[in-house]
Point group: C2
DNA sequence: GACAAGATGATAATGAGTTATCAATATAAA
DNA sequence: TTTATATTGATAACTCATTATCATCTTGTC
């Protein structure tokens, strides 16, 4: 990640503008409006680089290949639309799950995923 | 799933006895104590059959291939040990996540996964 | 016990996602 | 501009999980 290229700029822009976890394919499709010839390999390379330099993080959802979002956001969870497949960020968190944890277990992290329909799909 | 075989019995037994979501490989390893020559193909075939007949369900966790648990349990979530990789069932659920959902979204389902160390790994 | 059909195990094949390769191109420093 | 080299895009190769294939073995009925 040394040089600044049109491709890398486009990918960063897309992630900022859409502001939700994106799959490599979603990044490709969105960034091709800015850089038509963009290739999937460049998307994978750039996403990997962004994660390595700490500008992006991987978002894993059950049964899905990884998505990517910009780093630095505060603690949050995700909503997965069952219709369009897009993933959105959610605010808020119940926070305490200790009542669910068996004796002797120690919790270090948690993930919540809500599933349903987004506004656009319900329109 | 028509005939009763040693292999199928062993696989059902293992799922009942261990009572946690198991990957096909975990099923294979555990069931081989009962049926030494057991092959991975039979495990996949049997798990698929159990799901089709409604005796088992698929458990998907972020970034992991599917696991399988016996069907018919009440609503629950899972704990993933970061050390041994085993997944355990949890009781209880915060239940209401409506405060996290944006205007216009409709929630139909939720998943919670806790990560940490299990008793055995903390011992 | 004999037999037909289902089941098994080894392994080749598949599929989805991701990475490696490499000639051509673009960046940025001189 | 020139130039060294990082980057790109097309695509072959790879990885991992899962499924298909098929000769052999089992089950369960007669």
């Amino acid at each position: 990640m040394e040089r600044s290229t049109r491709q890398r700029q486009a990918i960063r822009e897309v992630m900022t503008e859409l502001n939700r976890p994106l799959s490599p394919t979603e990044v490709l499709e969105a960034a091709r409006y800015k850089v038509p010839g963009l290739g999937i390999a460049t998307v994978y390379r750039t996403l990997k680089g962004l994660v390595e330099e700490g500008s992006a993080v991987t978002v894993e959802l059950p049964g899905e290949p990884p998505r990517y979002e910009l780093a630095g956001k505060k603690h949050h969870h995700h909503f997965h639309c069952n219709q369009c497949g897009k993933v959105f960020e959610l605010e808020g968190c119940p926070g305490d799950f200790s009542f669910m944890v068996p004796q002797g277990f120690k919790t270090e992290k948690h993930e919540i995923v809500l599933y349903g329909r987004c506004t656009d799909c319900l329109n």
